[in-house]
Symmetry: C2
């Protein structure tokens, strides 16, 4: 892209690449024999969620009630809040209102959280999935200790649909296959515990983009989200390729020295994510060897190899954020480009809906 | 704070603490004999900029034209864009429009950038400051090489007001004093070069919050911004204390095990900043020994010392982002609390104005 459509920096989605990614995912999950319910916190865009449903998704996953309000307003019929929500009276009221308009399921990982939900929700059509820890050690209970949670749900007349986990420890080079095995084992353990205690398990939900390729059919559902747009972390983990990247930020070079260029996009449009194992703060579209070696709020410092190109102030480059979910959360509008038609603009309608 | 005002998570400013920080800064810069022009990218809030002007600021600093449009609309009369803007025709038109309503100065660090500005701006009242690199190695030219830039500004009839630098390498434990010396030296070198070539230097602008205490009076102006609100990075660098922190995020514990608690605030409200030297992803207000040991988009994992408190789901805690500038940029509204009166809400009016 030589002539920017807008004043830089701004975020773009390549719609053709996005649609190709959605089709690959549809085919892959079909082959694996599992349903998919993509985590829409990745994009927060109703238009994109609708494309995912058109490509076979059974619904979407979200983290907050505020996000769910946006997607239910946009007509999305089935939402899993994969989060151990602590339902205050106000949050329970908001969630109950949504449950009259869409199928809503939420996560729980403690008896206290279940008691709180029972107290504040009262009689409800909302379903529940018990979160188990498969090795990421964030939320989720020990898979061997799920029985008291199922008992608490039953005692309060709440519908338990099964178990879920997030194998977030897949976000480490070389760890994707191990994390996927941990995920399968944790879900299988929890399922066995529940079934032997007489609780049926209809859902076993897991998934992350890095562990997608090794996902086993012992899952009933994957919630991976990043696969749709891609980011520099997936390049680092070698789980996606440069040609799969559908989201980037269009920037202008503002300062240059030799093979180093400083562009006008920083952490306020790219996000500040940088895992300890990452080789940089992001990548450059079409320049596989280049790295973003430093980033501040409105500057990113790009280093190209000695044998590579040099740039001058005024040149336009597309940079790839490390973590697409946080990058999308920084902008209200994304420009969508396609070889098939004129640019569109999509509102990041659920941006900032943290509560 | 035991009863949250809103559904968590949400961002709060302690107005009493903020005003105390502004007063300390006024006294410090008065004693140092230098003007101050705080970087308002830290807060992006017109109400807060006005309080800074009431506390003696000579104007504000910003990074983008979009931010300047918001603050000029809010009546701020003097703005320095401390950034080597590449002025396309459209950006030049926007900046020229602002210059009819406020005093505008912008940064340059290359002859190419000056030629571009001269071409697109034409005759202008906008002033220019030459950016020099004092050791942060981001943008800015070599302080010994400023003469061609001053000559280019003069040749195009553009007004050169002096030199500026950002000693961003002050953001490292133990580096604040060295960075401050580097800053003084770079500005002095550039000034000597310009004055010996016959170019007067009326402004020598520098400053960062970590280097504030050692700022020398050879600067005419400091642009530090974080001092107003504080963040976990300043605690790590020991340049501010827990009692100075004016901004935090109110969160609910959603999952707990022993001395570990997971709260409902993650990188989508705290920002993902974590410098290599940081001891965690953020801090906990009032719990100096606690650390945020892991963070994802909607979860932060807090670890308290063995001798410290334990928390349960439903408990409320205030967490402190590592980098306040990026945390503020994630929310549209901030709740402002004070012992002197009822809560207010301030719009983060320049949030997301990246271009």
């Amino acid at each position: 892209m030589d002539t920017p459509l807008l004043d830089t920096p701004y975020t773009v989605i390549d719609r053709d690449r996005l649609l190709a990614n959605l089709e690959v995912h549809r085919q892959r999950t079909k082959k694996q024999g599992i349903a998919y319910r993509p985590h829409a916190k990745t994009h927060k865009i109703p238009e994109l969620a609708k494309l995912q449903l058109e490509h076979g998704a059974v619904g979407i996953t979200l983290a907050t009630i505020g996000e769910a309000e946006v997607f239910v307003d946009a007509g999305i019929p089935s939402i899993f809040l994969a989060y151990p929500l602590w339902l205050t009276a106000n949050k329970a009221q908001r969630l109950a209102a949504l449950s009259t308009r869409a199928d809503i399921t939420m996560g729980v990982d403690s008896v206290a959280g279940i008691q709180q939900a029972a107290t504040t929700l009262g009689e409800t059509t909302i379903g529940f999935l018990i979160e188990v820890d498969s090795g990421h050690h964030r939320s989720g209970c020990d898979p061997r200790a799920v029985e008291p949670l199922a008992a608490a749900l039953a005692a309060h007349g709440l519908r338990c649909e099964g178990v879920f986990t997030y194998p977030g420890h897949s976000y480490h080079p070389g760890a994707t296959t191990t994390a996927s095995s941990d995920e399968v084992e944790a879900l299988a353990t929890a399922t066995a515990v529940l079934e032997s205690a007489g609780y049926p398990v209809t859902h076993r939900s897991g998934g992350s983009t890095p562990s997608l390729h090794s996902t086993k059919d012992s899952l009933t559902e994957t919630r991976a989200g990043v696969y749709a747009l891609g980011d520099a972390q997936q390049l680092e983990l070698q789980t996606m390729e440069m040609s799969d990247i559908a989201l980037s930020v269009v920037t202008t070079v503002v300062s240059a020295r030799g093979h180093t260029a400083v562009v006008d996009a920083g952490s306020k449009i790219m996000g500040a994510d940088k895992a300890a194992w990452a080789t940089g703060h992001g990548r450059v579209l079409g320049h596989a060897e280049a790295r973003i070696v430093a980033m501040s709020e409105h500057h990113a410092t790009l280093v190209f190899p000695e044998s590579g190109p040099q740039f001058a102030p005024g040149d336009i480059l597309n940079v790839i954020p490390n973590h697409v979910c946080n990058a999308v959360n920084l902008v209200d509008i994304i420009t969508v480009v396609s070889k098939q038609g004129p640019p569109e603009q999509w509102a990041v309608a659920a941006r900032g809906k943290n509560s």
